[in-house]
Each structure stands twice: as C-alpha cells, then as structure tokens.
C-alpha cells in the first residue's frame, strides 16, 4: 500500500462519517482485482481494481481513493470519487456521483441521478494552476524560514548541524518515525473515533517535515552570497524546494534524493527536540585507532 493513500483514506473516512450512512461497516479493498457484486456495506477502493459488473445492484456508497474502479451495474447510493481512476460505462446507473478529484471517464448514456462536485484541484492540466501550490509552499516556507532565522536561529542551527554531521543517523530516525507514525495514524483512522487525533497527528507530522526542510534551506542559505541571515535562509529554503521539485523529475535517483532530504530533515528535528538541543550521539569508548595502549576499564 502506498503511503500517499493515507491522507485520501482519512478524507474518505471523514466523508463517510459525515455522510452518516453505514460508517461503522466499511470494506476496504487495497490490492488485486475485486468484483463488487452485492455489497451492502460501504466500499473504499484503494490501490485495487474494482468492478461493479453488469446486473449487479449495490445499495451502499463507494469511495474511490486510488486504483481503478469500473462501474457497469447499478449503485443505489452515492459514488464519491476522491482520487484514482473511475470509469462509468454505458449501462451504469448511479444514484449520485460526487466528484472531488481524479481521472474520470463517464459514458454519455450512463444514468446518473445527481452530480455534485467539490472540485478541490481539478483541471491541473492548466500549467499556470499546476505551478500555484508549489509556489505557495515556496513562499510560505521561505517566509517561515526567514522569520525563524531571526527569532529562533539556534534551533535552526541545531537541526542543520544534526543533518550535516549525522546524515545516516538522522535519515534512519526519520525513516523509522515516518513508517511507524503513518501506520499508527492510519490504524487510528480505522477506529473512526480517533480520526480527529489522526488528523492532528498528520498535521504535526507535516509541520515537523516542513521544519526539517526549512533547516536544510537554512544550511543551504549559508552557501549563498547573502549577508542578512533572514534573507539568506529564505532564499535557501526557496532554492531547496525548487531543487527538490526538479530532482523529483529524475526517475529512481530523484526519489532517493528527495526521500533522503525530507526524511533526514524530519529525523534531525526529532533528535534535536525541535532544535532546542544540540544532538550528540551516545558516547562510545575511546578506541585506540591503530597501535598504542588499549583503554581498558582497569586503566581508569
């Protein structure tokens, strides 16, 4: 299961809870091929290929958050399309189609009772619009970075130093934290009661990750020929985000670079206690490198 599915899953669970219908009996399909014949409980389609065959009648809502869903039959409830691909064939009959995002092919003769759209980020084909969210991120993080460099310089220094001196350790801590925290948050979301906690956790995670990137930018800013610390950090943050976006375009290697920068930043924020502490690894005994006398407990 891919990690970017988790926010979608949270959103679908939230929508399901607010819709009120059958929120306590959700069926999640995450992988493989599935025939949805006569499901009477809500279905969430993750990274799977789901198919409502011709002649099938479903009475519970469907939430598409990934993968491919093909509808040939009848759905007497709402179909919510959050992400992934949704194909609605000629003979399909759907009570209500709620469109949020994702790729959609709707046959012209399909019988759709009602269409609602909560278009959050449609028409991303438009180049001007696809640039807007990253640009906003650059501006916001650069401003935050510039401000932190003036008010909380020591924190940024500590985080940046941890990344610089201990890249392997910070990346390891970041990876482990991300893995366990995301699993934990998803697990919380499944209990439905804990969805708010899960959302708070996800937000905190995003904030900590952003702080890590700001610290990378702070370090990078020192290499730029800018005198004022706030400006240098802001420019560094902007440069790092742009570089990360460019690196993301390279296959495999780019993903590794982006993963390393993001995870090591996150790990560094964690091990420095949000930058309030200069990270020092546990002290190891002083080993005589080559020749010379050993340091044994009896010598001390």
């Amino acid at each position: 299961m891919s990690l970017e599915l988790i926010p979608m899953l949270l959103l679908s669970l939230l929508l399901m809870a607010s819709d009120g219908a059958g929120a306590d009996t959700a069926h999640l399909v995450l992988a493989g091929d599935h025939r949805l014949d006569a499901a009477s409980e809500a279905v969430i389609v993750g990274d799977a290929r789901a198919n409502v065959p011709d002649g099938a009648v479903l009475t519970a809502p469907i939430y598409v958050i990934g993968g491919t869903t093909r509808i040939d039959g009848t759905v007497r409830a709402r179909v919510t399309h959050i992400a992934g691909t949704l194909v609605i064939e000629d003979d399909a009959e759907i009570a209500e189609l709620r469109q949020i995002s994702g790729n959609r092919t709707v046959a012209p003769t399909a019988d759709i009772g009602r269409r609602t759209s909560v278009d959050l980020a449609t028409r991303t084909r438009d180049p001007a619009r696809s640039v807007v969210p990253p640009a906003v991120a650059v501006v916001v993080l650069a401003l935050v970075g510039g401000r932190l460099a003036r008010t909380r310089r020591r924190n940024l220094d500590n985080v940046a130093r941890a990344v610089e001196r201990h890249p392997v350790v910070t990346a390891t801590v970041g990876t482990l934290l991300t893995l366990t925290a995301l699993s934990l948050l998803m697990f919380m979301a499944f209990t439905l009661v804990l969805i708010p906690v899960s959302i708070v956790g996800l937000t905190a995670g995003v904030a900590v990750t952003a702080l890590g990137i700001v610290a990378w930018g702070h370090r990078f800013g020192r290499l730029l020929p800018l005198q004022r610390p706030g400006t240098a950090t802001a420019a560094g943050v902007a440069a790092v985000i742009v570089l990360l976006h460019l690196a993301g375009g390279i296959p495999v290697v780019g993903d590794l670079i982006v993963g390393f920068v993001v995870l090591s930043g996150l790990g560094a924020v964690a091990v420095t206690y949000l930058g309030f502490n200069d990270f020092e690894p546990a002290a190891l005994p002083i080993e005589t490198r080559d020749t010379g006398s050993p340091t044994l407990a009896s010598d001390v």
Partner: protein, 438 residues
C-alpha cells in the same frame, strides 16, 4: 584518561566504521576476523532459526506423529538443557581463562560443530519418539556449548564502534536467507541445506584450530585492543550486575512475546500464506528486504543511542504490531491481510535480534564474557523462545482460539510498554535520591 577525554572533546571522535579504514589501509588480517565472526554468527543464527525452531516441530508432529503437547514438552526440555549447558560452558570459559584464549575456543567450537553436523544428518532418519528425545538432548548440549563461544568472538574480533554494524549483518542476512530459502518448512529441506553449509565449515574450523596458524595468532592479538564492551568502561559504564539483570529480564520479555505470538500466527493459514510462505516471490522478497532494512536501522541506532531508548522502540514496535494483528482478526478476519502486518512484525524482529547480538558482548569484559553471554542469550533468547514455544503449542492443543491467544500476547506487550518508561523513571529517581540522601 583525562588527557584522552580532553582530546576527544576538542575534536568529535569519528563515527565512521573502522572496517572502512581497515580496507583502505589493506590490513587484511582484522578484515578476515570480521568476516569470520559475522559468518559464524549468521550461520549459527540461521541454524537455530530454521532447523531448530521450525524443523524440529515439523519432525516431531508430522513425521514422528507426536502430539502437539508432547512436542511442546520436548521443546521445553531442549531449552532447559541448552540453558544449563551454556551457563556451564560460560562459567568454565571464564574460570579457565578460555575467554581470553582464541585457539582453545576454536578447538571446542570445531568439536561442537562436528557433533551438530552429525546430528543434522541423522535428523531425517529418526523413526521413534524415544530416539528423538535423545537426539534433542544431545542437540541442546551442542547448541548450549556453541553459544557463549560464538558470541565471545565478537569481543575478540570486532571493535566497539563497529558492533552495531557487525550485529546488523548477521541479523539481516540470516533472516533474509531464511525468508527466501527453503520454501517448505520441512525437516528434510532444512537438514540438506544445513549439512551443505556445515561440512566445509567444520573443515575450515579444524584447519584453523588444530594446526599452527599465523592468522589465528595475529587475530588473537586484536583482543587486547577491543576486548571490553561498550558499557563496561567510560564514558558509559552501566554494566553493573543489577543493570545486567534488568536488561536480561527485558530481553527475556521481548523474546517471550515474539515467539508466543509468532508461533500461533504461522499456524494460521490466512496469515502465513499471504506473507512468510506466500507463493508470490515478490511478497517473500519484500519480507526479506524489510528484515535487512530493519537490521540496518537497528545497527545505526544501536551505536547512536542508549540501550534504554532502543528497548522502548522494540517494545513499542511489538505492542503496535500485535495490536494490528488483533485488530485485523477482530474486524476483517476474512479479508486479505495487508502487507503492513508482516512488515511491521519483521521490522520489530530485526530490531531486537540486532540488539541481542550486540548487547551481550558490550555488557562484558574479557573476564566475564563467557558467563554474561551465556546468561544473556540463554535466559533471554533460548529460555524465553522455547518456553513460549511450548506454551503456544500447548494453547493450540488446548483449543485456545487465535484471537484469545493474541489477546494474552497483547496484554503482555502493553504491560511491558508501560513498564519500560516507568522503570527508566524509577532508575532516575534512584540516582537523584542517592545524591540527596547520605
């Protein structure tokens, strides 16, 4: 000492692996020591993991037709004999000074490995439960004798700074191989694989141990430089006997919970056929890969953080994993379990295995390594694994449902998860009280 500390505080000591320096300087004798030590630990752990833990259960139940309960009794016997022999071996090692004598330990190990090779070849030929019990007792004796010796090589051949790495490689590698090969958990397959590896190993060991060898002489001299463990000398000397007892108890609990849960999970076709014994090689490769990644992470964290933090992580991972399994059983038992479940499990297992390899040598000096490794691995590893194996088989035979069984495991994991921070807090209170009170 103060001088050395002053130097260290001016320039932070390098945390790069010493192995890299050795290779760069082309000093092949210590590098050979690394390879020898890691290969020995990997092979030994693979043997215990597959042949002993899974192969013997198959031998007892499906080939000899013994009941689950009697196999569980035999396993408990194996644990007790292995523990007794290993502690005896460890004490003899320390008393006689073998702990400091590489060649003597190599000789004992050669004899023990030869015995194990014979046992392995005999295993598929066993025909009656009576001979099986005798076989198990001899096998337990050989395992018990080999264990403190194998672990003590870590002190001879691996410097403290590299021990996280040297522990991660056997942990990751043996699990990696075990999860890819052999496919079927049957005693004949295990036996064939083991014999093919052990036969050349016995020859090499015999050549090193019984003939005059300059390599062994030069390897023996390394010990003077990195014999004493990380927690036995400044700057973090925490290895008092009481701390050692606490760590043994903590690791016992980890192993106990793991086996208690795992042996029931692998008995459940829905879980095992979608993970460890999946027909899809991609799934098995995923599990093998997570083992390696988990061990590597644990190796990095071991050298960077205090053992207390690592214990908290291990308990946290285990508690969470068991919660995931219980939740899945309770809500969606008929659905295909997501890979996240075995993934988290494997991460936790690789974590504590790495910890287990590095911790005991690092809690010992040259004088105590035999006893401490024997007690540590014996009580925490063997006793816990096999007591819980017996208990898991017993609960299966007694008809306890998987959900009820895992609920007990969960309860234990939660209890420990709560206990560790409390104990850490109590330890701090004790330190402060000692300063305050005369």
């Amino acid at each position: 000492m103060h001088e050395a500390e002053a130097v260290a505080s001016r320039r932070p000591p390098s945390r790069r692996l010493w192995l890299f320096d050795l290779i760069a300087q082309r000093r092949w004798v210590p590098v050979t020591g690394y390879v020898f030590c890691i290969a020995l630990l990997t092979a030994g752990y693979y043997y215990n993991l597959t042949f002993v833990q899974l192969g013997l259960i198959d031998l007892g139940t499906s080939r000899l037709g013994m009941s689950g309960r009697s196999v569980s009794l035999v396993m408990a016997l194996l644990a007790l004999v292995a523990l007794a022999v290993s502690v005896a071996t460890g004490v003899v090692m320390d008393r006689r000074g073998w702990s400091g004598d590489l060649r003597t330990r190599l000789r004992v190990l050669t004899v023990v490995t030869a015995v194990q090779l014979t046992l392995t070849l005999l295993a598929p030929l066993l025909g009656a439960p009576g001979t099986f019990v005798v076989w198990v007792v001899v096998c337990a004796g050989s395992i018990g004798a080999a264990m403190p010796i194998t672990f003590s090589f870590m002190a001879d051949l691996i410097p403290v700074r590299d021990r996280g790495f040297a522990a991660a490689v056997p942990a990751g590698l043996s699990f990696f191989v075990a999860s890819l090969y052999p496919q079927q958990w049957r005693v004949e397959e295990f036996s064939a694989v083991m014999a093919a590896v052990m036969a050349p190993a016995v020859v090499v060991l015999a050549l090193l141990a019984f003939r005059p060898s300059r390599l062994v002489d030069r390897l023996a001299r390394l010990r003077g430089r990195f014999g004493s463990g990380r927690f036995t000398r400044p700057p973090a000397p925490t290895a008092s006997t009481s701390t050692f007892a606490v760590i043994v108890a903590a690791m016992f609990a980890v192993f106990f919970i793991d086996s208690l849960g795992f042996l029931r999970i692998i008995d459940t076709p829905a879980y095992i056929s979608t993970s460890w014994q999946s027909p899809d090689p991609g799934v098995r490769l995923f599990i093998a890969g997570v083992h390696v990644a988990g061990a590597a992470m644990a190796g990095v964290l071991y050298t960077t953080f205090d053992w207390r933090w690592l214990l908290v992580w291990v308990y946290g991972l285990f508690g969470f994993t068991h919660l995931l399994y219980t939740f899945h059983l309770g809500t969606a038992a008929d659905a295909v379990p997501p890979l996240l479940l075995p993934g988290m499990y494997v991460l936790a297992v690789s974590f504590y295995t790495t910890l287990n390899f590095a911790l005991w040598p690092d809690l010992s000096t040259a004088e105590t390594i035999g006893t401490r490794c024997a007690v540590g691995v014996g009580v925490a590893g063997w006793l816990a694994s096999f007591l819980s194996t017996s208990l898991a088989l017993y609960s299966d035979a007694a008809g306890v449902s998987l959900l009820a069984h895992l609920r007990y495991v969960d309860a234990l994991a939660l209890l420990l998860l709560a206990a560790v921070p409390l104990l850490l807090y109590a330890a701090r209170v004790r330190v402060l009280a000692r300063v305050e009170l005369p």
